[in-house]
């Protein structure tokens, strides 16, 4: 019990801080002179602030050092409680929205997934749209810190690897020694790139509201849009190009960005094995899919390249914007995109899925097995970016991959039991666990998750949480050992 109270204490503090996030939609409501919006958001802000404060104040006696177990509990409750409070304005302002759908929407936002159950986005009040997009941006912020500062401490799924994997000659000393400093530095980079993205989108032809919203969702690799037609609404190659650039930015480890920015050198990116592999794979796939679409006669080559690039980058980076209904393409193309979304994002980015570094570990492990068969006496340690990866990390990664696949398979079966067709169920689970957003079939880019039953909606929301928190973090709470002293 005491453990729970210590966590509640910390959580209360988080909520107090989180309540500041309501300022953004409040300001928007002021700008658009929307009285009801303003009052509703202030009310929601007050609720969050008061409840958070009470949680913090009443449990002050239990303030204490957070142990590793507290860490798991706190991270999971944070990622469930914040979406919970974030639903308040949605429930107040969108008539007829059920709690299930509202929670799905905010969970989708906070996990930077970008799947939506709302239709008529174009007609939503600006403050609500800003709120949805801001949640994605905050989710991205949290994920970066989670990935770079917290998960390595917990050592989840070979996460220690990423700490040692900080690229370049600076290695361990690269980032600052304290988590708080590291987090602050990464936030600065995140904010700076976001501002650049918003500016670029405005320049490319969006109005300020759209620019801010899309800037937020692009950097969080979330993929919410202010329009039902997503980016297809703008039909502008320039906007698509700007978004491609910033999505590719966001899919690289922010620690790498930080090093590049501090060292004023571009070479850091080239030395980051993960970024190299991710960008290489994505770019090669763009051309491959464009060629495939042209060969299949779907588009002329240059149109194919444009649409393939934007939609592939969007899905592979786990954003989830769409500019055309790519579900209509020959099935190879969208499935390949769904495959990329599972592996392409770098650790320490805002993307989801297995992460490229784990993919590299898997590929190299397979190579090691071949060498081992040919040369039984060979001593062949795994090396990524010239660094030796210890075997226990490889095992941790293998364990992670197993759980990842089992999660996908189990959740797919659950959705199949609930009556979904296979391709929708499978891609909905993939899109949720990888925090991508749109799937195929009934949850494809042309439609959304509104058609799901409440049960299916909860399954997908759970998938997002599990995927975002690297599976172990959530599932460990369901092991009896965790609760034993």
């Amino acid at each position: 019990m005491q453990r729970a109270l210590t966590v509640i204490h910390a959580l209360g503090l988080m909520l107090v801080v989180f309540s500041a996030a309501y300022l953004m939609p409040v300001v928007t409501a002021l700008i658009y002179a929307d009285q009801t919006m303003l009052l509703d958001f202030l009310l929601a802000m007050a609720w969050t602030l008061v409840i958070g404060f009470l949680m913090w104040a009443l449990t002050r006696r239990y303030k204490g050092e957070l142990s590793i177990r507290h860490g798991y509990l706190l991270v999971v409750t944070m990622w469930t409680a914040m979406p919970l409070f974030a639903t308040i304005p949605l429930l107040m302002m969108i008539p007829g929205l059920s709690f299930t759908d509202a929670y799905f929407e905010t969970m989708s936002a906070m996990t930077t997934t970008g799947a939506t159950v709302l239709t008529g986005l174009d007609n939503l009040p600006p403050a609500i749209n800003v709120w949805r997009h801001e949640l994605q941006w905050i989710g991205g912020l949290g994920v970066i810190v989670l990935a770079v500062a917290v998960l390595p401490l917990l050592g989840i799924g070979g996460r220690q690897l990423f700490k040692a994997e900080t690229p370049g000659p600076m290695k361990e000393s690269a980032l600052t020694p304290r988590i708080a400093d590291t987090a602050r530095n990464l936030w600065i980079v995140y904010v700076a790139i976001t501002l650049a993205c918003i500016g670029a989108l405005k320049w490319a032809g969006m109005d300020w509201l759209d620019a801010v919203c899309h800037g937020f969702s692009a950097m969080g690799l979330g993929g919410f849009s202010t329009h039902d037609a997503s980016i297809g609404y703008f039909d502008s190659p320039l906007i698509e190009f700007v978004l491609i650039v910033f999505m590719l930015f966001a899919v690289i480890n922010f620690a790498t960005h930080f090093l590049a920015w501090r060292g004023k050198s571009f070479g850091v990116y080239l030395r980051d094995a993960e970024a190299r592999a991710a960008l290489g794979l994505i770019l090669a796939s763009c051309f491959g899919i464009a060629f495939f679409l042209w060969w299949q006669g779907v588009y002329a080559f240059w149109t194919a390249l444009r649409h393939a690039s934007f939609n592939l980058v969007s899905i592979a980076t786990s954003s989830g914007y769409a500019s055309v209904d790519y579900a209509q393409w020959p099935i190879f193309a969208p499935l390949w995109m769904m495959f990329l979304t599972a592996i392409a994002a770098s650790s320490g980015s805002t993307g989801g899925g297995i992460k490229m570094i784990r993919t590299l570990v898997l590929v190299k492990q397979a190579g090691r097995e071949f060498v081992k068969l040919l040369h039984p006496a060979a001593v062949n340690p795994m090396k990524i970016g010239g660094q030796v990866v210890a075997n226990n990390i490889v095992f941790a990664v293998l364990g992670f991959i197993f759980l990842y696949f089992m999660t996908i398979v189990t959740l797919t079966f659950v959705l199949l039991i609930s009556g979904m067709d296979f391709i929708s169920a499978f891609t909905a689970v993939l899109a949720s666990v990888n925090n991508c957003g749109p799937g195929l079939g009934t949850v494809g880019p042309a439609s959304n998750y509104a058609g799901l039953t409440d049960f299916q909606t909860w399954v997908c929301a759970f998938g997002m949480l599990v995927g975002r928190l690297e599976i172990f973090t959530v599932l460990i709470l369901f092991t009896p050992n965790f609760w034993r002293r």
Partner: protein, 457 residues
């Protein structure tokens, strides 16, 4: 000359042995009294037990009037400190340190007069590695030694039937390859030297030393024997300092397999090397060798610390079909026993590395010394100074120079140009003259000949 040697390990004792015979006053310092006793039993020198980096030890060893300090202990740090002390406390004129760590070697300022005051640093492992790399590059050669920063090379090769020159007089070389300039410096037939003349006929089995510009080595080798295919696969046994460096130097251009006995070292090596296949096992384990196809290996190098192991594993490799085997052998008795037998090349680390030290000890301006035929012969690169009055060499034709019998001028490096030594070649000041000396006893005379007489100053 008064020389103080710190460290009585492999390098220290070999240097001591070779310098004692050249009439120097030697003092050897080591922390291991037993090693020193053995050395003193054998050689005419003074020894002292103590920590080589302590001023009191150095003082006792007589550093105050020492001409040259050779810090060759196992530890880089002790060597550096000793050099620093010698320079700042005792003003020792010449300080040479053995430095193994690449970390130090990469930062030249570490050795400068402001820091550790090391005049010359030598790294025996590096010299040995470069030596073996050359041998792998020219698998037909027994030895490839560089002069004048690699502009000219001295190559030892055994003549085999099938080489166009074998069975013909030396003069034939000139007419057969007019575009290639090379000069045969010495021939050893059944271990006894022959002074090469134009009409000397090369026989099968002769050990031939020739000097050529670096680009011409291959074509001259071609004259002496049928050429083998270039090496591709290299197997190294022993992942110590030398094995590791060698693998690193070769792994880009060759397929390298490295066998090391110690599992921990294996892991370290595998982490450090990128293209080398590191194998954990015993170099004398024939099962492992077969598994790794030793029969298809072009060059097999046994480079462990253990002479007997190296000999056995290289014999085993040769028997299994390795094309060429190289064994590192510390004991000089073994070297003469095995060289030219089943083991293609028996490497004595001491003989290979001693030259770089000797160059500093010699009188006159000696740039490079290479010890040949296990120390019996020597090749020197001497820089000549002065003019016709002050020098007995400058301004004279080669046949005017009063060289002792058994010493030949092989080639002259003038700037970037390599000139072969013919009887009418004129020697100019600042030339680098490469002299081949069949018998080491004549080295003193050669050095004297090349020294500038006092009138020059």
């Amino acid at each position: 000359m008064k020389i103080l040697i710190l460290g009585a390990g492999q390098v220290g004792s070999t240097v001591a042995e070779s310098l004692v015979s050249e009439a120097n006053d030697i003092t050897v310092v080591d922390s291991d009294g037993e090693k020193l006793r053995q050395l003193q039993d054998r050689l005419d020198l003074r020894t002292l037990t103590g920590n080589a980096a302590h001023p009191s030890t150095l003082e006792q060893a007589g550093i105050a009037d020492t001409d040259m300090l050779l810090a060759v202990t196992q530890s880089d740090e002790v060597n550096l400190v000793a050099c620093k002390l010698a320079a700042s406390l005792y003003n020792t004129p010449t300080r040479i340190a053995r430095i193994r760590s690449v970390d130090y070697l990469n930062r030249e300022e570490v050795f400068s007069a402001d820091n550790f005051c090391v005049d010359f640093s030598i790294c025996p492992e590096q010299i040995l590695t470069e030596y073996i790399v050359k041998l792998i590059e020219f698998p037909e050669a027994l030895q490839v030694l560089e002069f004048a920063d690699g502009k000219a090379s001295l190559v030892a090769v055994r003549a085999f039937a099938g080489g166009p020159l074998v069975g013909n007089p030396l003069r034939f070389l000139r007419s057969h390859m007019p575009q290639v300039d090379a000069r045969v410096a010495a021939i050893f037939r059944k271990d006894s030297p022959i002074i090469p003349e134009g009409n000397t006929v090369i026989e099968e089995g002769d050990e031939i030393f020739f000097i050529a510009a670096a680009d011409n080595i291959r074509s001259v080798l071609n004259e002496m024997r049928r050429m083998d295919e270039p090496s591709k696969r290299v197997m190294i046994v022993g992942g110590g300092n030398i094995g590791r460096r060698l693998a690193k130097a070769l792994e880009r251009d060759y397929q390298v397999k490295l066998i090391e006995y110690d599992k921990k070292s294996c892991e370290r090596l595998a982490g450090e090397l990128t293209n080398t296949l590191v194998l954990n096992g015993d170099g004398t384990d024939e099962k492992l060798m077969q598994q790794e196809h030793v029969d298809e290996v072009d060059v097999f190098c046994a480079l462990t610390n253990d002479d007997e192991n190296n000999i056995m594993s290289s014999l085993l490799a040769k028997q299994s079909g390795a094309r060429k085997v190289v064994a590192l052998i510390n004991r000089s008795a073994y070297v003469s026993l095995l060289q030219g037998g089943k083991i293609d090349i028996a490497l004595s680390p001491a003989q290979v590395t001693i030259g770089s030290l000797l160059a500093y000890v010699r009188q006159g301006d000696v740039a490079v010394v290479h010890s040949l035929r296990r120390g019996a012969a020597e090749a020197l690169e001497l820089v000549v100074h002065g003019d016709r009055q002050s020098s007995r060499v400058v301004g004279r034709r080669i046949d005017e120079i009063d060289l002792p019998k058994g010493a030949t001028i092989g080639a002259i490096v003038r700037g970037d140009q390599v000139i072969m030594g013919h009887h009418d070649t004129l020697i100019e000041a600042e030339d680098h003259v490469i002299v081949f000396v069949i018998n080491k006893k004549m080295v003193k005379k050669v050095e004297k000949l090349f020294q500038v007489s006092l009138g020059f100053f």
